[in-house]
Symmetry: C2
Subunit: 133 residues, 2 copies
DNA sequence: GCTCTCAATGTTATGTTATTACATTATTGT
DNA sequence: ACAATAATGTAATAACATAACATTGAGAGC
């Protein structure tokens, strides 16, 4: 089940990295991605980090700050930069992406009250998933 | 203005690290803390990381995931693990800690809707502070 | 006081994540 | 074709974090 993204304006390395993350179905570190792409000719971390940078900018991939890892956006043709929430199970490591418009509004309100011009929000919830609790 | 925390049940290294963060008044990396404590006899990263681990557990210090840095909790005798929000200015680097009970409630609600047992939430807002915008 | 136990500390080495610097190749617009 | 820009390749290094093991210190029970 190989997917190709060149038609969506992605370069070769960006496409390889996005494919890898989509196939993985969960978070991967940059070096984990690199390992999976050695046989596609990638050799250096920077090749992965550069691709990730673009993919994150375009909203196709999210960075999980508390894991130092990356995950494909779960919204099919995702191109928005809205408030995204991640749940991260401390037991099994499963990560789920949630969108909640209400929370986005509330974060804006909190920021406004603090005289802060909000550009991007990071929300990562630690706990136990349905299956592990 | 040296402060000592042994009376609060902190060990020597924990006290040194907390003092350093409080005097700094902003985030510091573990290695930044180490640099400031070389002349107090600290030599290895682990001495700092071990102290930080305890301080974070006790709620005296927060970890800023998106900065790989640590900051003293801004609540004087802080001992709670409630929902904390950080604003991080992308221009000047200033970090402010906010508490907002409403957001805590909403995060619990979001987690509950996702069948997720919330243990700890990380909320870090990027944007521009009052002074920089 | 003695000694057992456990927490904290010290030290070295290593593992993991991310960036700097610079040369080369591909793509796009005119 | 040509210039300008974006992407790529490569090596080296910086920044962040932990593993493994030896030692020291502080409190509990005798």
């Amino acid at each position: 089940m190989h997917v190709h993204h060149q038609g969506e304006g992605l370069t070769k390395n960006q496409s390889l990295v996005l494919d890898t993350l989509m196939r993985e179905g969960g978070p991967l570190s940059a070096y984990g991605i690199l390992d999976r792409l050695r046989d596609k000719g990638l050799r250096a971390p920077l090749q992965v980090y550069r691709a990730l940078e673009k993919l994150v900018t375009h909203g196709k991939v999210h960075r999980l700050e508390s894991l130092n890892a990356f995950v494909a956006c779960s919204h099919p043709g995702c191109d928005n930069q809205e408030a995204v929430i991640f749940t991260i199970c401390s037991d099994c490591g499963k990560v789920d992406e949630i969108t909640d418009a209400g929370l986005g509004v509330q974060l804006q309100a909190v920021a406004h009250r603090a005289d802060f011009k909000l550009a991007k929000s990071t929300v990562e919830l630690r706990g136990h998933c349905n299956h592990c609790s």
